[in-house]
Amino acid sequence: MAKVKLEHLTKIFGKHVKQVTEMMQEHAPKTDILEKTGATVGVYDANLEVNEGEIFVIMGLSGSGKSTLIRLLNRLIEPTTGSIYLDGEDISKMDKKQLRDVRRKKMSMVFQNFGLFPQRTVLENTEYGLEVQGMPKAERREKAEKALKNANLLAFKDQYPSQLSGGMQQRVGLARALANNPEILLMDEAFSALDPLIRRDMQDELIELQAKQGQTIIFISHDLNEALRIGDRIAIMKDGEIVQIGTGEDILTHPANDYVRAFTEDIDRSKVLTAENIMVPPITTNIDNDGPNVALKKMRAEEVSGLVAVDRDRHVKGFLTAENAVKARENGSALDAALTQMTTVHKDTLLSDVVSVIYDSPAPLAVVDDDNRLVGVLIRGRVLEALADTTDMEVE
């Protein structure tokens, strides 16, 4: 079952809701709506499901409604219309007490603008969530200190937020949310003020945490690399509407429209594309059946200079070059002996990892599935072509 589900969720800031809705249905631009009605469309008709244990990333232009959407989830903003289901329950219909329980136990939020309490020290900020749950002082202090330690801020625990740098403040916000150990983490550009080193640490920690504790994470990011790195699925928003939802690969390979494509341009494809995306169909010889003659005949027919040797189960046995096939025929030996070593890569290996392997390997690479069965081959030309594709776009 979906952990979180949104149905026809709409938020309009300002008055004249009906007029705005009509204009939205006619796809009027936001600036027109603003001028005519004074109202701003935050989110319009969002439908979405986030699965349990998923890291779901929301991306989109600045002002496209990401923060509004995430705030609707814990009802910091009241929706104009639509429903929000959490574990099948409609949050938008909850009374105050139920909502409070949800916020305490199920969701924690990291704010885009940090949202730290200025009159509380770093430590006191971090333990805030636990404090309101009524956890005894010693216990919550311990948890908070642990969270601060993970954020590398333990030394600063008695300082006040205004004494910290931007990134440090963001990490306090993060520690505060994590200390709570909620089922769902709502993270609004939680890493935007972090430098790459700390950011990578934080990403790793998040992934690890998620793997260990199976939290559902909804994450707003502007960094597609980050989204691809940590996100199971990605939603892309534009002008308050969700224009595409899919895995990183879906979005890279089948962008719903030019807007989404533009978003992916600056991306280092080698970090996204996998062997499976760029492999070509293998031309194989079943060494359990075929002899050198059959193999050579196949090569001629397919106009290739080598074949991937597989057994009956399509397990890769090696590579058979034309040269070796000829030699085998001359020597009358079996194909087994004529094979050269063939490097295999799993089909999910990233292109970036493939590049270094293929550079060292004389033969094409065999791409195998989870059962180690051959599904395709990678050839150098194709790899370069894929890399070129990426950059092509930018050069255009």
């Binding site: 909502l99 409070r100 309490f117 709570n180």
Partner: protein
Amino acid sequence: MFAVAKIPLAGWVQSLVDWMTKNWAGFFNAIQTGGQHAMDALTNVFTAVPPLLLIVALTIYAIIVSGKKWGFPLITFLGLLLLWNQGLWNDLMQTTTLVLVSSVISILIGIPLGIWMSKSDRVAKVVQPILDFMQTMPGFVYLIPAVAFFGIGVVPGVFASLIFSLPPTVRFTNLGIRQVPKEMEEAADSYGSTPWQKLVKVELPISKPSILAGVNQTIMLALSMVVIASMVGAPGLGQGVLSALQHADVGNGFVNGLGLVILAIIIDRFTEYLNVDPIQKLANKPTGRFKNWKKWVGWITTIALIGGTGFAAVQAHQKEQASVNIVYVEWDSEVASTNVLAEAMRDHGYNVKITPLDNAVMWQSVAQGQADASISAWLPNTHKAQYDKYHKQIDFLGANLKGARLGLVVPKYMTNVNSITDLDGQANKTITGIEPGAGVTAAAEKTVKDYTNLNGWKVQTSSTGAMTTALQKAYSAKKPIIITGWSPHWMFQKYDLKYLKDPKGTMGSSENITTMARKGLKQDKPDVYRVLKKFQWDKDDMEKVMLDIQAGKTPQQAADKWIKENPKKVDAWFAK
């Protein structure tokens, strides 16, 4: 204008007040009695602390709190010392009680109300005009119902202070909470804070500066109401101001007012230090070995304070036996006599409270049994009107001082002048009088008119203070001066003076100062009654005490001195 008649609003209000007075008497009485007792107890605690100890302790607290050696601690020390020096210590403590109680009640009501306002626009809409009402409806207006409800004393004083001083706390709590940034509210909400948690952990700490500023205003306004409160009998510095102003005595009014100001500054500073930015506090946090000295010194001071107070209280307690409430008029003579009697009774173990009141109120309070007794009835002339009105409800115990008189007075060195008829142009044909409205002034004017030799003379009215100043000036220069005098008065002890004979009797005949008690005192407190009945002394005695007071002693000190010097007389009062 409209043909509509004037709406009889005034009448309605009057009726409402009457109705409430009649029907809610029990409720009001309970408040009056309870409040009075509670506040008396508090004042007793304050006055039980030896003044010097309290001054030093407050100075030490000031050092600890402000972290400074000069500035604020010095102001605290010198200011309190000055008030002590001016003999205002008891008044100061009583005012402190009044202000503390009304401030605390204001805070207890005001902060929750302000919070409620900040949470609901509708409440704000309703409360705001009420606050306007409370601050602008003149205190005089609701003081009259207050007296009708609560009688005289400190309770209606607190009531009046409360009404006037509550609004700033409410307003600025409301403002402060409404100014809390939206992000902070959101952050608190997002972690599932209950409204209460949000309030206590986020909103109040963030809005603390505004709230404290409001509380500070409340305290200031409570202090500013002290004088008004004393108009309905609340004791303390306010009474000093009022009594000074009855003589247009700016100087003494100022001194008493200064007491209020010093109290204000000290309270203001102590509350201000509650409001230090936490970051600043962090920066000033001492490091190293002595970082806890403040805590230690603070505790030691507190212990010393409690110890000293306890010791003083135990000593005081041993003497406590009965409780007597003696009222008096704020005249030099009555201050002297009442204090002497009170001190003497205290020495004999009575628990005596003395209350200065307006002349009419004094009589009323004895007549209605709110006070036990007074030794300040000038009869038969001066208090005639009151006597006529109340004499049936009062028990008169006879004169405690005989031969009080008014008259024209000159220094003895004016040997040629012994009678009013001897006057023929001395001192620029001027008689130096006191306030325009005073009885003695009126008598002097009559005298000028009736004596033919005083044709062309004038009575130069001024004030009691100015008159004595003029006397002193003339006396030291041995210049002629004629004043409107009365005795008992300290001037007869300080200077060699004589009354001029008054053949026409225009300056009035002689009077006795009489003791009176409420009906029933004889049954309730026979001991006290006996002492009151036996209490008497003479003009010389009284004038000695008055002179000491005039020279700068507090009334109590002067009384104690006199008691020490006249053991026999005093013993006679307490003989069985």
